[in-house]
């Protein structure tokens, strides 16, 4: 016997995780942690997708989550490469130091 959890609980968890990800992007100055917070937000959105897919009994939500995962994998690869280049140029990755477009 399995009682179902209401959809709104999953959405509440998703919302809390998304807000915490936003907070992480806003308060941390380490770009790696900012990236991780962005992943947290993507995950929260994925959770909402899957909860809605279950709620409306369609598979499209799960397929979209699959695509979001792939795109975020690509995004992480490019972003980490950019961080490595910045580190190579400035020997630091503090976002406060990234205030010029050249060099």
């Amino acid at each position: 016997m399995v009682q179902t959890i209401p959809l709104s609980w999953y959405l509440a968890i998703s919302m809390v995780l998304f807000a915490m990800g936003t907070l992480g992007v806003l308060i941390r100055r380490n770009p790696l942690i900012i990236f991780m917070s962005i992943e947290l937000m993507l995950n929260a959105a994925n959770l909402a997708f899957v909860a809605f897919a279950r709620s409306f009994d369609v598979l499209t939500g799960q397929i979209f989550v699959f695509f979001v995962m792939t795109v975020s994998a690509a995004e992480v690869a490019v972003g980490l490469a950019l961080i490595i280049i910045i580190f190579r140029n400035k020997h630091s990755i503090d976002v406060d130091l990234m205030n010029s477009l050249k060099g």
Partner: protein, 174 residues
Amino acid sequence: MNLTLILFIVLAAVAVASAAGLLISRNTVYAALFLVLNFATVAVFYLLLGAPFIALAQVTIYAGAIMVLFLFVIMLLGSEKLPKGQVLLWQRPVAIVLAALLLGEGGFLLFQRLRMTANLANPEASVNTTEALRTLGMTLFNQYLLPFEVTSVLLLVAMVGVIVLTKKEKGESG
């Protein structure tokens, strides 16, 4: 109180606590490991929601591949602990207020709009079965075949882009 409810509450607590750990930890490696814990709990949420394929993809792609990449870069840069630079004093309170605003706004919308449709449809039918997985695969490779192929091109572009970005120019030192 039954088992699912207890499991949900424990998982929710672990997810929120690990996200908080990500936000406050000083060491980047600890932050990455907190995020792995968070991804694992979200994967169990997917299992509870009857999406086993997504749950396993979450574990392999996010908790596996992406986080290994993160840890690799953290170790490569040697940036486990960053030196504390000058801090913008107003940054943290303003950020907390803005995040609380976002949370409140979302909560307001959630409890205003969704009170009517707050229940999950047909609990145990058509989930967690091989038939559901077969349906998912058929949908992915029939109806969504073109987006799937475009995804592969996207991954290829990302891969080539990363190689071009990090390649050292000829004659460049360091």
